[in-house]
């Protein structure tokens, strides 16, 4: 597959997704909250493109409406995640010494604690909302990106052009912003795509545990968790959601790969 085509496919899907979320109130969809107990778990028909769920609601419509909180959470958590990673990663790498050790210690600890306890605690105390989910997911995931950014900043620090700038007497902060920064950008983009993948996977995992937005207005993960109970009898519930999630993850993958290959 030609490189350009795969990149475009990924971007196209993501763009369509975002557009759909924006235009949602104006799209000609069935009411996602309208129960129809007489027609539950029906397969795809003309009026219900991907069938109905256990309470007779139109799955296609629910899926589209669920995209909003999902995209918000993924975008928000990814941004927060990378922000934290850049801050702590560059701090650790540029200052070195005890700060570096402290950040590494914190990272190690984050690996070691089973996140379920942490998440149950936070969710129990703060309740579930888009904001708390963004903070919680970013809070779990920031360590991965931090380590990578730290490693990259370290590498850049010892790069020739930086040494030369230091030799010329430019202040550290200037170097950081003007030299290291732009070189970090491609890595950041790559990380963004991978982080988005992790965030989406985490969010669906949380929904599986019942710790995401509740019915009747769930995220994709919530819809998936709902549908999984009916998987063997009415596969289209979980199936359509799984397909949408998979396509989105695949698009992000393609995007990430594309950025990677332009990095090499």
């Amino acid at each position: 597959m030609p490189k350009g085509a795969s990149r475009s496919l990924g971007l196209v899907w993501l763009a369509v997704l975002v557009l759909a979320c924006l235009l949602l109130p104006w799209l000609p969809l069935e009411d996602p909250l309208q129960l129809d107990l007489g027609h539950t778990l029906q397969g795809p028909t003309a009026s219900h493109l991907t069938g109905t769920d256990a309470l007779g609601r139109d799955i296609f419509s629910r899926l589209l409406w669920a995209s909003r909180p999902t995209v918000l959470i993924v975008a928000g958590a990814t941004s927060l995640d990378l922000l934290l990673a850049v801050v702590f990663g560059t701090l650790a790498a540029s200052r070195g010494g005890w700060l570096d050790r402290l950040v590494l210690l914190v990272i190690d600890l984050f690996w070691s604690i089973p996140f379920v306890v942490f998440v149950v605690l936070v969710v129990a105390v703060t309740g579930v909302s888009i904001l708390t989910l963004i903070c919680t997911i970013a809070g779990i995931n920031w360590v991965a990106a931090t380590r990578i950014i730290r490693a990259e900043v370290l590498r850049l620090r010892s790069a020739d052009f930086v040494r030369r700038a230091r030799a010329f007497g430019f202040p550290k902060s200037d170097i950081l912003l003007s030299e290291v920064g732009p070189n970090l950008l491609p890595l950041l983009l790559n990380l963004a795509a991978y982080t988005a993948i992790e965030v989406l996977t985490l969010e669906t995992g949380l929904a599986f545990l019942g710790l995401s937005l509740p019915a009747p207005a769930p995220t994709w993960g919530g819809l998936l968790a709902e549908g999984l109970s009916y998987f063997q009898s009415a596969w289209w519930l979980a199936g359509s959601t799984a397909i949408v999630i998979t396509v989105t993850l695949a698009s992000l993958h393609l995007l990430a790969r594309d950025i990677e290959s332009s990095l090499d």
Partner: protein, 506 residues
């Protein structure tokens, strides 16, 4: 690279627009009453979620807007304990055939109360019922108490559901009752595999009160009496019993020729019964309250006495319970698994997961946390009464996931399936009738349980306004729930106590 960056910029712009767009509330503000309904996502998740959403939709049509609050198990009970909720969707079930089980929540002196309802008239009726001298008077008082609560609606009863079993060929001898006691003695299949869908907490009969633990414990252990499918008390380890001394004492004649399984395989005697009951009190069983009316129990609980004077093992074959006052409910309460009999040598710390030492039909061979394996008890006392031998082996497995249950049944790895709600449409037609099959048959067992909405009576507006609660109750369409959600495998509940419990043939 620049193209990518510019795409990214476009992406970011879209993101900003998206956040703005999404934050717009597309739903108009509601003018009617608001209700926030809390439910536990770790107990019967599918059924609760679906019921909650149906309730939300039904009440929306009648102008009441409902916000759903699914929470985890620990949070659920914590918020109820702290009275930090408005309304909650819950399930209530009992282990014995007594209306008292449904009436405790409203008694102001009970331990854990959901509704925090407080009414001296009710308390009076409840106490007079509990300590009535005769069964008839007891039922009368309880009936009045029920009527009072049904009128004031601290709980809104919704429905009582049924269990629907699919039975493979050969397992038709399976028996279960309205209180979810499962009896496999009559099954004519030599290797029986069954499942439960919740985690097992303990294999100690004194500590087994949740469904899965009960399921396992009732295969190896037995009590003095048992419950027949028609709701009658029938002899088990006691062949007959008499209430004497004006209701202050119950004498039990113990069955002869009953032997315990395992290393203490001596015959059952009255001292085993006495020590089982005392052990149950010592290990802090959740059922410890059932013996509160027995003479000498308060002193025993406070460690002031070494034994309970009210448990009398006068002769090896005769066991008596001396009560501090007449207490007809005592007989019902003895049905609880905590009152099952273990050998007197069983220590408080005995490890019930390694072996079973009861009198029951199946002997525990192994327990690995997920699966219990049993062998038939070769020495089982009731064997002579059975026309067929017991299943040679029994395997009981925890299968929480619906898909695993279904896959196992389809593949023939499971012999009896208790059909979960999510699989109803696999086995039932749209009108509720079962899909006939040559490989298996069906059994529906009506349960005497209750699905209900409880209000927090300490919080306004619902806790203070009976008319408002009644409006919620009358806005619900129970018939639709029962017919469409459960395909008819449930009964509408109009009272907090299932009417079957007030029947007269006791």
């Amino acid at each position: 690279m620049t193209i990518l960056l510019s795409n990214r910029r476009l992406f970011l712009v879209c993101l900003v627009l998206l956040s703005v767009g999404c934050s717009r509330n597309t739903q108009p503000p509601s003018t009617g009453p608001q209700l926030s309904l809390m439910y536990n996502t770790e107990e019967q998740a599918t059924e609760k979620t679906v019921t909650a959403q149906v309730i939300q939709s039904q009440l929306k049509e009648k102008g009441i807007s409902v916000t759903l609050e699914p929470v985890t198990n620990a949070v659920f009970y914590d918020r109820i304990a702290k009275a930090d909720y408005q309304a909650a969707l819950a399930l209530w079930y009992v282990d014995y055939d007594d209306p008292e089980g449904f009436l405790t929540d409203f008694y102001s002196k009970a331990g854990f109360r959901m509704a925090k309802y407080s009414n001296p008239t009710y308390d009076d009726l409840y106490e007079r019922g509990l300590f009535a001298k005769t069964e008839k008077e007891k039922l009368q008082r309880f009936h009045e108490a029920t009527a009072l609560v049904d009128r004031q609606l601290p709980w809104i009863p919704l429905y009582s559901n049924s269990e629907l079993f699919v039975l493979r060929k050969g397992t038709e001898g399976f028996v279960s009752n309205a209180y979810q006691y499962y009896d496999y003695r009559g099954v004519q299949k030599s290797d029986l595999r069954v499942a439960t869908d919740v985690e097992v907490q303990s294999l100690d009969p004194a500590l087994a009160y949740d469904l899965a633990s009960k399921h396992i414990v009732t295969q190896s252990y037995e009590g003095l009496i048992a419950l027949a499918p028609d709701g009658q008390l029938v002899p088990m380890l006691a062949t007959d019993w008499r209430i004497v001394r004006d209701g202050n004492q119950i004498d039990f004649h113990l069955r002869a020729g009953v032997h315990f399984q395992g290393k203490w395989n001596h015959a059952l005697t009255a001292s085993d019964v006495k020590s089982s009951f005392e052990r149950m009190l010592r290990v802090n069983s959740p059922y410890a309250y059932i013996f509160d009316q027995v003479e000498g129990v308060p002193a025993f609980k406070e460690k002031k006495a070494k034994e309970v004077s009210g448990f009398v093992a006068s002769a090896p074959g005769v066991f008596s319970i001396r009560l501090s006052r007449p207490f007809p409910t005592m007989m019902e309460w003895l049905l609880a698994p905590a009152a099952y009999i273990v050998p007197r040598e069983t220590s408080d710390k005995f490890d019930f997961t390694k072996e079973s030492v009861g009198t029951g039909p199946f002997v525990l061979k192994s327990w690995d946390g997920v699966q219990a394996r049993f062998d038939a008890n070769g020495n089982y006392w009731a064997q002579a009464q059975q026309s067929h031998p017991l299943p040679r082996t029994l395997s009981l497995r925890v299968m929480k996931d619906v898909n695993t249950q279904f896959a196992a049944f389809r593949q023939g790895e499971l012999d009896i399936l208790n059909i979960p709600l999510a699989l109803f449409n696999e086995f039932l037609e749209a009108d509720g009738s079962v899909r006939p099959s040559s490989e298996y048959s069906y059994r529906e067992v009506k349960l005497n349980n209750l699905k209900f909405i409880t209000f927090n009576m300490q919080k306004a507006p619902y806790g203070r306004d009976e008319a408002l609660r009644r409006r919620v109750s009358e806005s619900l369409n129970r018939s639709a729930m029962v017919k469409q959600l459960f395909k008819g495998r449930a009964r509408e509940a109009t009272s907090i106590v299932p009417p079957e419990m007030f029947r007269t043939n006791r």
